[in-house]
Symmetry: C2
């Protein structure tokens, strides 16, 4: 129940207590004048943003039935809404949301608001600017809340990010009754798929708009499509085939963190070559794994990442020597900075780590994608 | 139950199933050779760090019975362990913890690991470096876990931060049996109390060591004592009297965010002058409120912060004109940077916002405190 309705119910209760129900409709009318009723629009009537492909369930990233042999752990992740958003325009002074998710509890190193809440941006002076979050309700799968209020009534372009890790099952955007609301323009161009681990999916950004593909989209205007799959970016053959089938302009492969050193050696070439076969000229950018901070003390963990990153470099050299064109490599040396404060748990970047990572990869991505995507 | 014990129990179960219980002691011995048993030391036998004053319950920041008239909301916060840590030395290749908290669920804009988990730093090359977190168990008040393992066996100085927002009721630090463990040296000098809101208490750092007073301590070597009280830093007379009574060398007052513009005008002078009376020469540093990001769209919210910050400036001018010495002022203009990505919810800094805030206030604090604290 939203706050407004809560207030009205309280007023009803008090009035009924004093036995003056006859005044109710008059009073409610006066109240409604001050606090307008909310008109809700379902997400399907707004502009869906960040979709890798169209899906029967609009809140899924991939139709898992459309691809044979996907591992169960992958199927679980690609129906979570990480990276999806809705675009709309409104002149309402307040924006509300009603939404439901599967109700999974946030992992200990993520906020609930990132895991299963919403995150709103509004365009201001030509830039997307943070405007408000929608907090989920503890122990409940559905919530309704005010995301922002008290604004002027100029028309605004809005971008509302969906939960990163939970499966979204329903979403309606609310505005003050009498305000306009309509589907927004698609805000980004050039479709760049990022395939990767929990880090791509958004762990551990503080809210969904802070996941690094989302930040890259807002800051570059290019459409970075989040195909992060927590724990499950292992370059399986079925996944490589699926990725190659998507209609996108470029590929960023940030899938080393979840792949064992052996998997990196065995599977990188198949993934790159399968993509290349279907997309003869699309840029393919391979990123090394972010260094795991915990590896500075846990010697085996440190060695594992060094081996993953050494192995992917070997594979890249081989592929380049074989003559694969438009293939690029981003080393991870400076991703998290050098004060060791850029992670939440030694593995997943916090917002500080993501910011540092973006400072390193954004200029490279802009340079590559700005020149290499076919017009 | 910790993982090690879990493994042993599983082994027992399997052995008993095959009816070869006679091999159990031999096998368990071999297992124990590989995975040593854990020896636990209660926190009270280690060095407590970050205490504003000694308290009967070592995990409380303030003995609430020792001060008359504290508001209930303040009492609730000062028994939470935000800013407390234990210092110890060990040569154990692994470090474990068993701990209990009151079991409050994390707010939607904080991680559980920051709210009610633990955060370990180890000194490396003269600097405190992140080493591991201890994740709480969902739905349970107690947990036991491995924080870091696989290290070499050189003796290490360790600093383990307690939960930021929950009340800690028990804490034991574990090392591999046969390793050394002892209370560590007190790691910081010069006692600087920071009185403030949820932001001081640590909302919304990703883990407890990322709260800004904790980062300041590690980065400057000075002892920034966390007297953050979420939602309740309102400069009440009883709280001002309590703060003035503490035996510290300097005061940072970051209490504007929770105080209404009227409270700021009415209460700032009393707080500063009460401190000055008890501490004739201690530096007193007043910080403006961090700008609320949501105030860029919510016009009333934006205006409120402007008014809070204008009013505290007026009060500062009056106090300086009255001749209060060793009183300093830090304006908030650049605290969160200028891309509007430095908060989790428009109010509380995320790790990126805290990092930016630290870049602004640290040089000022070092400059002031380095020269103005009496030797």
């Amino acid at each position: 129940m939203n706050k407004e309705k809560g207030n009205i119910n309280y007023v009803k209760h008090v009035l009924s207590f004093f036995g003056i129900g006859i005044m109710l409709s008059l009073f409610t009318f006066g109240f409604a004048q001050k606090r307008p009723k909310i008109a809700y629009t379902p997400a399907k009537d707004l502009t869906l943003v960040g979709k890798v492909a169209s899906t029967e369930n609009i809140f899924h990233r991939v139709d898992t039935n459309a691809f044979a042999g996907l591992p169960a752990a992958v199927k679980k992740r690609v129906v979570q809404s990480g990276g999806l958003a809705v675009s709309f325009k409104t002149n309402s002074p307040a924006i509300y949301a009603k939404w439901c998710t599967a109700g999974t509890v946030a992992s200990a190193t993520m906020t609930s608001v990132a895991y299963r809440g919403l995150d709103l941006y509004i365009k201001k002076d030509g830039r997307w600017q943070y405007a408000g979050v929608a907090r989920p309700r503890e122990g409940q799968t559905c919530a309704s809340t005010t995301i922002v209020r008290g604004m002027d009534n100029a028309e605004k372009e809005c971008l509302l990010y969906l939960p990163l890790y939970d499966e979204t099952t329903r979403l309606e955007v609310g505005v003050d009754e009498g305000s306009t609301v309509q589907a927004g323009a698609y805000p980004f161009q050039k479709r760049v798929l990022i395939y990767g681990s929990s880090i791509v999916q958004g762990s551990s950004a503080s809210r969904s708009g802070m996941a690094y593909p989302a930040r890259l989209s807002r800051e570059t205007g290019m459409d970075f499509l989040n195909l992060g799959m927590g724990g499950s970016a292992k370059m399986e053959k079925s996944v490589a085939d699926m990725i190659a089938s998507f209609d996108v302009d470029a590929f960023v492969l940030d899938c080393i963190p979840n792949s064992s050193p052996k998997m990196v050696s065995e599977r990188t070439a198949y993934l790159v070559e399968t993509i290349r076969k279907k997309h003869p000229n699309a840029p393919i950018i391979v990123m090394q794994s972010v260094i795991r901070e915990r590896g500075y003390f846990n010697l085996a963990s440190g060695e594992r990442v060094r081996q993953q990153n050494a192995n992917v470099k070997v594979e890249m050299v081989k592929l380049l020597q074989k003559g694969v064109k438009n293939l690029y490599f981003i080393p991870a040396d400076d991703f998290l900075g050098h004060d060791h404060e850029g992670s939440v748990d030694g593995t997943h970047p916090n917002d500080l780590g993501f910011d540092r990572m973006i400072q390193v990869i954004k200029p490279r991505l802009v340079e590559i994608l700005g020149t290499s995507i076919e017009k």
